[in-house]
């Protein structure tokens, strides 16, 4: 099963740091998210794209996780050579994660 089947996601950017939210459609699936979508797995999923640490924050009240990815945007939105300098498309890549 892909993450996309049980969660939705949005990317935000600040400098060279990207955050990706992962939000369970159903509150019941939050425990599964917490168990399966670890910071380590997310870091491995973005190998080659994200060069810094990945930290996970938990928001049980809204059944969501928030991942903060350092060194994720090719030097930062304002100078990155990447086609998607903001990293807007990174949430779609995370939703492709196999659970």
């Amino acid at each position: 099963m892909k993450l996309r089947e049980i969660a939705h996601s949005r990317t935000g950017d600040k400098g060279n740091v990207c955050n990706i939210s992962v939000i369970a459609y159903r509150t019941d699936d939050y425990a599964l998210l917490r168990e399966m979508v670890t910071a380590e797995r997310v870091k491995n999923h973005f190998v080659g794209l994200v060069h810094g640490e990945v930290v996970r924050y938990e928001l049980p009240g809204i059944a969501a996780l928030n991942f903060v990815l350092q060194g994720a945007l090719g030097g930062g939105v304002t100078r990155s050579l990447r086609l998607d300098a903001h990293g807007k498309s990174l949430s779609s890549r995370l939703l492709d994660l196999e659970l």
Partner: protein, 443 residues
């Protein structure tokens, strides 16, 4: 308990204008806020002001003001915006002349200045988040603007302003300002300031909470995105919020759209650093209370740090880019051949570049080789590189363009560009470095 209605009329500088007109006409608003300043916008505006001292404010200011001011006057809606960019006084002057032409005599326009801390940042030679210091950037520094808080906006409203124009202000402060003014919230009531920050954070990107940046066909379908309605926050005196939109407009407001926006550009949700407060989103509760009506509660706050985030704009480099397309059988192989040719040409002709990217749009441009795309019908070659001079940057695009007659079969639609890159780094200044000041003019 009193409630006020705040609409978000823009989520970025180039945003659609009709949704703001719709809000002004039908939103039964007390305030209409336009958030139009991205991280680097003010540095670009400062460059514009160097060329034209009367310029340096948002290029769409006139279009937005002309579209909404008469309606806002008629419906008693006050306007708050950061469209002042590098020149809030100039923007207020421009707004005054627009108001006069529209016959809105007596309209009071406030400009808030004091966010420009370039002198202080240079004198203190502050450390930058990118490494190095402000002065190490030498004469490449363009601007340094601190994110100032809600106080001056509230003061301007108390002074009777119908329109408040700021430069760099924290985006949520554009919404927190009217709440502080209307409800008399104390500037050390951290929980209320935290709740007000939730309001501002949720609304500041306009359409991103009403179904924009959200749709994913068959998984998350959103109705009528071409007519996306912008959000309205109904904010109660105790900081409780209902997010809604104009009835009949496109898009929707659901717990899911609100949750995505709550976490947008957030790092630690328990510590969202703002000039007026450290807001805590970790206990926020979100529930649907009707069609396109979502109730948000539980925001908290802790004392402010006394430090202001400051964006330092500087001339970073030049970037050259070229693209060309290939299609049909063997498109990927021809695209790769094209990349190899350009790579070799840039080396042969001695183009000096500190960073180069060679990619195939449709295969590996967004997420690199790991994206695992197979053979596709068409690909677009993209070569881009960073250089020290514009002339050097131009040569990168040229080497892609010459593929027309010198490269693989069937290359079409070549395009090239070369541009100066103004980048932004961040530092922290003590809040005493920024002294926000309100100046009022009348149409």
């Amino acid at each position: 308990m009193r409630t006020i209605r705040i609409g978000a009329g823009a989520g970025y500088s180039g945003d659609r204008i009709e949704p703001a007109v719709e809000l002004a006409e039908k939103g039964r608003l007390d305030y209409l806020v336009f958030e139009c300043l991205a991280e680097r916008t003010i540095a670009l505006a400062q460059q514009a002001r160097m060329k034209d001292p009367a310029g340096g404010y948002d290029p769409l200011l006139a279009a937005r003001m002309q579209a909404v001011l008469p309606i806002c006057r008629a419906n008693k809606v006050r306007v708050i915006t950061n469209m002042g960019a590098a020149n809030p006084l100039g923007a207020a002057e421009a707004t005054r002349s627009i108001a006069r032409k529209l016959g809105l005599s007596g309209l009071r326009i406030a400009a808030i200045t004091g966010d420009d801390v370039l002198t202080q940042a240079k004198n203190a030679n502050l450390a930058l988040d990118t490494g190095g210091t402000v002065n190490a950037l030498g004469n490449r520094v363009i601007s340094a603007n601190a994110y100032v808080g809600a106080r001056a906006i509230a003061d301007a409203l108390a002074a009777g302003a119908d329109v408040v124009i700021t430069g760099r202000a924290a985006d949520p402060a554009l919404f927190l300002g009217p709440l502080v003014h209307e409800f008399g919230w104390a500037m050390d009531d951290w929980d209320l300031l935290g709740k007000g920050t939730v309001v501002g954070h949720l609304l500041e990107c306009a359409g991103q909470i009403t179904g924009g940046y959200f749709a994913d066909p068959a998984v998350k379908d959103v109705p009528d995105l071409a007519r996306l309605g912008f959000p309205i926050g109904e904010v109660r005196e105790d900081g409780d919020l209902v997010v809604t939109k104009v009835e009949g407009s496109g898009g929707y407001v659901t717990p899911a759209t609100v949750k995505e926006q709550l976490l947008y550009e957030i790092h630690d949700p328990a510590q969202y650093f703002q000039p007026d407060v450290v807001a805590d989103f970790s206990q926020v509760r979100i529930e649907e209370v009707g069609p396109d009506r979502v109730h948000v509660s539980g925001g908290l706050g802790k004392p402010k740090t006394g430090l202001l985030k400051t964006s330092v704009g500087y001339l970073d480099s030049y970037v050259g880019e070229g693209q060309i397309s290939y299609a049909g059988p063997g498109a990927v192989a021809r695209g790769r051949l094209a990349l190899d040719i350009v790579r070799e040409r840039l080396a042969l002709t001695g183009v000096v570049s500190s960073e180069l990217r060679f990619e195939l749009i449709g295969v590996d441009a967004l997420h690199g080789e790991a994206s695992g795309a197979g053979e596709t019908y068409e690909v677009r070659v993209r070569v881009t590189g960073r250089t020290e001079t514009l002339a050097e940057a131009v040569r990168i695009g040229n080497e892609v363009e010459t593929l027309y007659t010198n490269g693989p079969a069937g290359g079409g639609g070549a395009w090239k560009s070369a541009r100066e890159v103004v980048a932004v780094a961040s530092c922290l200044v003590p809040e005493s470095a920024a002294q926000p000041k309100v100046s009022l003019v009348e149409a």
